[in-house]
Symmetry: C2
């Protein structure tokens, strides 16, 4: 049994609370939250604290707050030489105050409020200063996920940049698709099966082999038709740059 205190009440914190509550091997001791009501639907109110002085003893303190608050929160913890980890993809482990033993517990997923996720499939990337602490967070990670990996701070940074491309930037392209539909009295619903299939394709096919479209075929006639069609300068610039990038890939082969 590993005892845990979660510090934070945002999306990641809430999904971790739900996941830990379902595990028999984890005792969720407390949740630290400035606004008690933001987690009161998940855990009984006597376990929610909003004063650092009230935080109890536990094997693991898990800081799930926004990136720029991690350092500050870790400094405010009123104890020393305990295991404190953060859940951020972009922050190095060393951002945590060195008065405690540092680690990282990074679930690689995009979390939406009120949308349940299947934690079993979510990769959890771990890092710890001390081997014994790594074992502790590995035990915790394995109770909720079947994909648990040791990832250095440098690798985690790479992974986070890659995640920005395949998640944040991809979603922005969905947004542009939606805009083009709206401007032409078309329902965005029409594009959804294509969006899902495009994502599912790369489960079994490398993105390189899955590439299709006018840029891949270097079909300059269709590309020019599309560029003439687009009136928004920003959309046009994105179309040009990504088309050029796909064409350049073809030349490398």
């Amino acid at each position: 049994m590993v005892s845990i205190v979660i510090i934070g009440s945002g999306n990641v914190a809430q999904h971790l609370i739900s996941a830990f509550l379902q595990s028999d091997e984890i005792e969720l001791v407390q949740v630290f939250s400035r606004q008690k009501e933001s987690v009161s639907h998940l855990i009984s109110s006597d376990k929610i604290v909003s004063d650092f002085a009230e935080i109890k003893q536990a094997d693991l303190y898990l800081i799930a707050v926004s990136d720029n608050a991690i350092a500050d929160v870790s400094t405010k913890l009123p104890f020393e030489n305990r295991l404190v980890v953060h859940t951020s993809g972009s922050m190095p482990m060393e951002i945590l105050d060195s008065k405690n033993r540092q680690g990282v517990f990074y679930p690689l997923q995009t979390f939406t409020k009120n949308k349940p996720v299947n934690f079993k499939e979510i990769p959890i990337c771990l890092e710890a200063e001390v081997e014994k602490d790594f074992k502790t967070i590995e035990t915790v990670a394995k109770t909720i996920s079947s994909v648990v990996q040791s990832i250095s701070s440098e690798q985690r940074k790479a992974l986070h940049v890659a995640a920005v491309f395949v998640c944040n930037f991809v979603n922005h392209l969905y947004k542009i698709g939606n805009e083009i539909c709206e401007e032409n009295q078309l329902s965005f619903e029409l594009l959804k099966p294509l969006i899902i299939e495009t994502a599912q394709k790369i489960i079994h096919l490398s993105p390189e082999n899955a590439q299709t479209g006018p840029a891949k075929r270097n079909d300059s006639e269709t590309i020019n038709t599309h560029l003439n069609f687009l009136s928004d300068e920003n959309q046009k610039e994105i179309y040009k740059l990504l088309t050029k990038s796909i064409i350049d890939d073809g030349k490398k082969l």
Copy 2:
């Protein structure tokens, strides 16, 4: 019962052949293919022809060939005043030789060889010169799909451009994510759950509301860390342009 001849043997043609063979309301009369062997695993060889003169009478001739071959193929058909449609997203209906009655039968999906698709969910966008012909292709479309829409050539062009953004360009971002993983000894498998969740999110959430990440938060510290991390100039340029586009969206709100 609608009788159909399919002209072509590529991805779209093969998926349509499979779908039509499963329908009781469609009689697949023939498939025209230069290489008989490319469709011989789908349909009996006596129904495959490679000489235009051998094409039989049918209610509907469906040209599923590459965009730049459509006009030429439609000219070579040795008959007149019959219903001939193409399956392209980017070509206007009028590209078809006007000696026959024109139409468009555009299934909006990315087709992969040997990967079955569920046609029921694939939107089919229809257009026809004549009302009676529209009814015919609508009957055919409804036997294989539950999402059938009348879409003008101009709207279809918009839809095709939007599809390039949400499919071709999105896949290219997956490819860049894969590259970044490989360069840092990380498995691309780690990103797959994120890719699937990012796509599934927009089924219930608008892409605008689903947007997350450093650009959405205008988190210049993380953005600069990422730009310093990226060494490939092309990746850097794409990162900058898409980040700027997301930040500019935020300013519009």
